[in-house]
């Protein structure tokens, strides 16, 4: 057992500060355990959002020592406990209280993305057939738990606060899962270029680094979408080829 100091952000939209709490850390504890222990023993009014404690609900996103992480998946043994451990809410979203932020902006964005639009059924039984090879590519995107850590670390949202012009990596992953789906026939490329602001992404790969589901966000979702936008709007040769070879 070791005594560790945690600097927890306490406050609301109007004001806030870090407060120090000391608590015992035992083997196997994760940061969320420590926060719950502090909440139970020292700060009953501490606001913290959590649900599954298994890295699957995406609720307990926060910044541990300045890095966006799921508190339930961050082992205390993996962080230096000889110095105070800072825990603060995500910076890309408005603060509600203490460690809880208002992530509802993300849900508004998601509603705006054109939904799945399958082609006409092509099998005799009135359904579709898909090859595994075709669905493999979008399967990775289905792992997303919507923890919004990628949104939090993205400097376009976090630093430049361009929430009105840029939908963020989470929704490029969502867009890619639809746009690359072998059954989908909707065209979202115009939206990606204009209202979704994919051009603002400058490929720093921070979103990929923080993803707790190890989704290769930049390489497998954002860059392929950027390339499709180039096809559609910036590449004269592709425009020429499309006359003879429709998108498929």
């Amino acid at each position: 057992m070791v005594m560790a100091t945690f600097k927890l952000w306490r406050g609301d939209r109007d004001a806030g500060r870090f407060e120090d709490y000391q608590t015992d850390i035992t083997e196997g504890m994760v940061v969320l355990d420590a926060v719950h222990q502090i909440q139970a023993e020292q700060a009953q009014d501490l606001a913290v959002r959590w649900n599954c404690k298994a890295g699957k609900c995406g609720s307990c996103s926060a910044e541990v020592n300045g890095s966006p992480k799921l508190m339930c998946m961050t082992r205390c043994s993996d962080i230096p406990l000889d110095k105070p451990v800072s825990i603060e809410p995500m910076k890309a979203f408005p603060l509600i209280k203490d460690l809880v932020t208002d992530v509802s902006w993300n849900f508004q964005v998601k509603k705006r993305i054109k939904p799945f639009k399958p082609r006409q059924p092509d099998a005799d039984d009135g359904t579709w057939r898909m090859a595994q090879a075709d669905i493999d590519r979008v399967q990775e995107f289905r792992k997303c738990i919507e923890c919004f850590l990628c949104q939090d670390v993205c400097h376009v949202l976090r630093e430049h606060q361009m929430h009105d012009a840029f939908i963020g990596p989470r929704f490029f992953v969502y867009g890619a899962s639809l746009e690359m789906h072998p059954l989908d026939i909707e065209n979202r490329l115009g939206d990606l270029k204009d209202s979704d602001g994919i051009g603002y992404c400058n490929i720093t790969k921070c979103c990929t680094k923080v993803c707790p589901e190890d989704i290769t966000i930049t390489d497998n979702a954002i860059i392929p979408l950027k390339e499709r936008v180039v096809d559609e709007f910036y590449d004269p040769l592709q425009k020429l080829f499309r006359i003879f070879r429709p998108r498929g």
Binding site: R13, G16, K91, D134, E159, T204, R228
Partner: protein, 267 residues
């Protein structure tokens, strides 16, 4: 769309609560890329010591016009403005340079290392204004696939240089014979690294298969997509290996040509 009003903004360049050595990677990228750019610029301006026997420095290949035996179309062209310095490298170096400059990996790396945009993940930036690649000038990065087409040609040319590097001319008799020198291996490794980097390009992955939603209908495309994707997963590694080896290849040929290093013959 509703604007999210943030309450915990970061202020001040470099501000972060990260405790790790977040500055180390951008610093290493800055040092590595700066060293390469300075060296290649210097080497390009030399205009000499770029060929040695059957070896031609990759910084000068293809030698479209020049004084060495590797030149495709003869000596310095008469239309080259007299007021400008001359080097065969000036005619070709823009193409591989443009390929690397617009490469998705390098873009992310040099935006961090040279523009601090951001300096590192979750670290505050020096500027408030941000345009990204959404408008001029960085929207021009979308030209990357055109540099890819040129880069693929360069890989073919450099592979041909390796073939040439297998044939040594006897200075006394003028006879040509098959052989392998250390320089041959250096140039061959250069093609392998450049091939791994170029064939793992994100744009190539898109063009060979990523452009389609139903790849299974075209097995050749699917195979090509998987092959390029395999190289793409280590794109950063290929990028750095090829960058360092191109520089080393030029150093090797240059020092051999200057008589400082001796090229050992294996066969």
């Amino acid at each position: 769309m509703a604007q999210a009003e943030l309450t915990l903004k970061q202020h001040g360049f470099g501000q972060t609560r990260r405790r790790d050595l977040w500055w180390l990677q951008p610093l290493a990228v800055f040092a590595g890329l700066s060293t390469f750019v300075i060296y290649t610029t210097w080497a390009a301006f030399q205009g000499e010591y770029y060929a040695f026997g059957p070896y031609l420095s990759p910084l000068y290949s293809p030698e479209l016009f020049g004084e060495s035996s590797h030149s495709w179309f003869g000596a310095k062209p008469s239309w080259w403005p007299a007021v400008l310095p001359w080097s065969p490298a000036f005619l070709i170096l823009w193409a591989p340079g443009g390929f690397r400059l617009t490469c998705y990996y390098y873009r992310g790396a040099y935006y961090k290392a040279f523009w601090a945009d951001p300096p590192s993940c979750a670290v505050a930036e020096p500027r408030h204004r941000y345009l990204g690649e959404n408008s001029f000038p960085l929207i021009l990065q979308n030209i990357h696939r055109y540099f890819l087409y040129l880069a693929l040609l360069f890989v073919v040319v450099l592979a041909y240089d390796v073939w040439n590097a297998l044939w040594f001319t006897d200075a006394a008799t003028g006879a040509t014979s098959f052989g392998i020198g250390i320089g041959t291996l250096v140039l061959a490794a250069n093609v392998v690294f450049l091939g791994g980097y170029t064939l793992g390009c994100h744009s190539l992955r898109h063009l060979v298969g990523g452009i389609r939603d139903r790849l299974s209908a075209s097995p050749a495309r699917l195979k090509a997509y998987n092959c390029v994707g395999c190289l793409n997963r280590r794109h950063m590694l290929w990028a750095w290996m090829s960058l360092c080896w191109v520089g080393f290849s030029d150093v090797y040929v240059r020092l051999c040509a200057m008589g400082i290093w001796t090229d050992l013959r294996i066969l």
